[in-house]
Subunit: 408 residues, 2 copies
């Protein structure tokens, strides 16, 4: 989308192919899953975002294959020719070989995931309210979140607030504050991609919200009645009916297709290893950007799968295409400018890293709110989200607590 | 819900049983179906609405049967005892014996209906954009709405605005203004429950939005490729893939259960005929209110199934229960005070009847907006909806145009 936006006035014609008709502002998806925002507030129709680009058409469809020799993208009902191809199909959940866990422990990538998780969380409290058996009631009030990266921490923190504040006076037979929220992480600390001092601060802020974390822990089994976790070789069983998955991502299927069709290499996470200009070796007309791209020319590790990397890569490729079309000199290799890392935990609680500056608590949270509202600007939803947030902040309410989907 | 709200400080204990965890502000559901509002903006969790009533508990569950002799409501997983029972389970779609049409022509009663209709409407334009065959493209751009009561008129008007304004610059291969929107009505005029002069004005306003209406017409067949309509004995075939149902409602299943268990009579629409105080004959402890109730003690016809009737009936029953508990005299029989009838058609377009005063166009539309915002007050969503409306009004945009549900 960033490539298309930046090519709006270039003398090229652009076709954007997407399976969905909207752009999803993924960083706020956890707020839909926890009833703070509605789906429509964090998604904008692609046609609206790209409406002013008269050289651009949006196609609702799925790219299932590539015909690299004839430069065509294959859709189930036809093919689209290209001179230059940009692949940015991102990543999906990864259950490390246990795909059967997906139905028991949904991940958070789509609007449908978010409304499904929202229903599960709310339904768990409803079931606990009506459950006469104390052990069963306990199981309904136990929540397990697998993975303590930013998404897992955000979900756990929001759930802590739901149990401690939002639902506090809603029930008559249970006290929602009895909910036990467990965050399971394979690494020795929460937010392992952050500096250790911020991990420690995040953990303290999580504890204040009633979230307990279990680190260096591996999930070895998930079934409808609970989770088995192994810590230091010792197995531990947690009775629960609500497990959320925030542990792993894997590159989307088109990465493998690209490798087969172009001979490009994949990294262990299945991402496509790109050249310094984000193109594929031997294929200067194909670019791979975003979470599907493995860019290893800067620092020891590939660039992380975060939004700022994808956005900067999109702008870079647009610049490169514009200079190619104009016959100008090729720009210098792509360089990611890391503005900092943010993770929010809850109301007035967050951690942030800006180079050597590490902040936490209210200043970090305020920065997080500000940055996310700024990026929402482009999607016209800023005012609505801002008002919803102010309202939720003042009242500690979450208005979008709807159990929907399936048969009522 | 109105009974429970009004009994908040009475010396009684109240249990509200509902299959859903939220109250849905039904009059605005068509705006969700047409992408103007998000589900969370027109629904409030029941626990939030009734939070301050410490004598009230909310139970998520379905009343499947009644044990009138032992005064118990039967749920799938237990029973709830009562001294006084209020049944307000409303109405559902009615396909006049053609239940197989439901999958082809969804009605608009639930949040799930609304997001399904939204997906179908948007997907039709997407399919038309990519359809090379002109006849097929025409079929994707034909929309048929069955029933020209307030809901059908609202849907048709909003769809006219979507085609004429909202999507106007969104596509490259079709002009959304080529969409043909057909409103099919069995009676000889649109809005048949309104005075004839307002029906005529509504029809003119619909024509201005590009909606054509077919009155005295009966749908005789619906299949995936079109609709067959009979007008004056002549059959007419309309090729379309998008049919919406706004034609008929039938009382919910609990009406029949009540009749069987108490001997109460049902009217031809399946509604339970109630006494002047809204109770059942021989059962002063059971009240039936809202769309499920057939109140024939005022005027020639039973009271219509509209929100103001249900709300006034709810307040009446609460007053009656309070006076019973206090040992005071029984209030006079229920009397519906008809404040007027409103139907909106689109931006600056509506009709309204206040006794002998009939208005249309902007004044009627403004009244409609004002009244609906006032009633939303109680559900804390007023400000959000107001802002969304102002935004949509100024930009002619509809931000919540998401195709969701099913596999992406």
């Amino acid at each position: 989308m960033y490539v298309a936006k930046a090519l709006g006035r270039a003398p090229v014609s652009v076709a954007v192919i997407d399976r969905r008709n909207f752009h999803l502002f993924q960083p706020l998806l956890y707020q839909v899953a926890t009833g703070g925002l509605s789906p429509g507030e964090i998604a904008s129709p692609l046609r609206v975002v790209l409406k002013k680009n008269r050289n651009t058409e949006v196609l609702l469809g799925e790219a299932v294959d590539l015909d690299v020799a004839h430069r065509r993208v294959i859709l189930p009902d036809g093919a689209i020719a290209y001179d230059t191809l940009i692949v940015a199909t991102g990543a999906t959940h990864h259950y490390f070989g246990n795909d059967q866990w997906e139905a028991l422990a949904p991940g958070l990538k789509t609007i449908e995931n978010a409304t499904e998780i929202r229903s599960r969380l709310l339904l768990a409290f409803e079931r606990a309210e009506r459950e006469p058996d104390p052990a069963e009631r306990r199981a309904w009030l136990n929540f397990v979140i697998v993975g303590a990266g930013p998404t897992g921490v955000e979900l756990a923190g929001a759930l802590g607030e739901i149990a401690g504040d939002t639902l506090r006076y809603d029930f008559r037979h249970i006290d929602p504050r009895d909910a036990a929220i467990l965050l399971v992480e394979g690494e020795p600390r929460v937010l392992p991609t952050f500096p250790p001092d911020l991990s420690a601060k995040a953990e303290r802020q999580l504890i204040a919200l009633g979230v307990r974390s279990l680190t260096s822990a591996r999930v070895t089994a998930i079934d409808p009645d609970g989770v088995t976790v192994t810590v230091n070789g010792r197995e531990q069983r947690i009775a629960t009916h609500t497990v959320l998955w925030a542990a792993g991502v894997r590159a989307s299927r088109l990465g493998k297709v690209l490798a087969e069709r172009t001979g490009a290499q994949l990294d262990p996470a299945g991402r496509v290893i790109v050249e310094p200009d984000l193109s594929l070796p031997g294929h200067p007309e194909i670019f791979v950007i975003g979470d599907l791209s493995s860019f290893t020319h800067q620092g020891a590790k590939p660039l992380p799968g975060v939004a700022p990397v994808a956005m900067q890569q999109g702008s870079y490729v647009a610049r490169l295409i514009r200079s190619r079309v104009a016959g100008r000199q090729k720009p210098a290799p792509f360089h990611y400018f890391n503005k900092g890392n943010l993770a929010t935990i809850g109301r007035n609680r967050a951690v942030a890293e800006f180079g050597k500056l590490h902040i936490s608590g209210f200043p970090a949270w305020f920065t997080w709110v500000f940055v996310h509202l700024m990026y929402l600007v482009e999607f016209e939803n800023r005012l609505l989200v801002f008002i919803e947030w102010v309202y939720n902040y003042l009242t500690r309410n979450r208005g979008a607590r709807l159990i929907t989907g399936g048969k009522p």
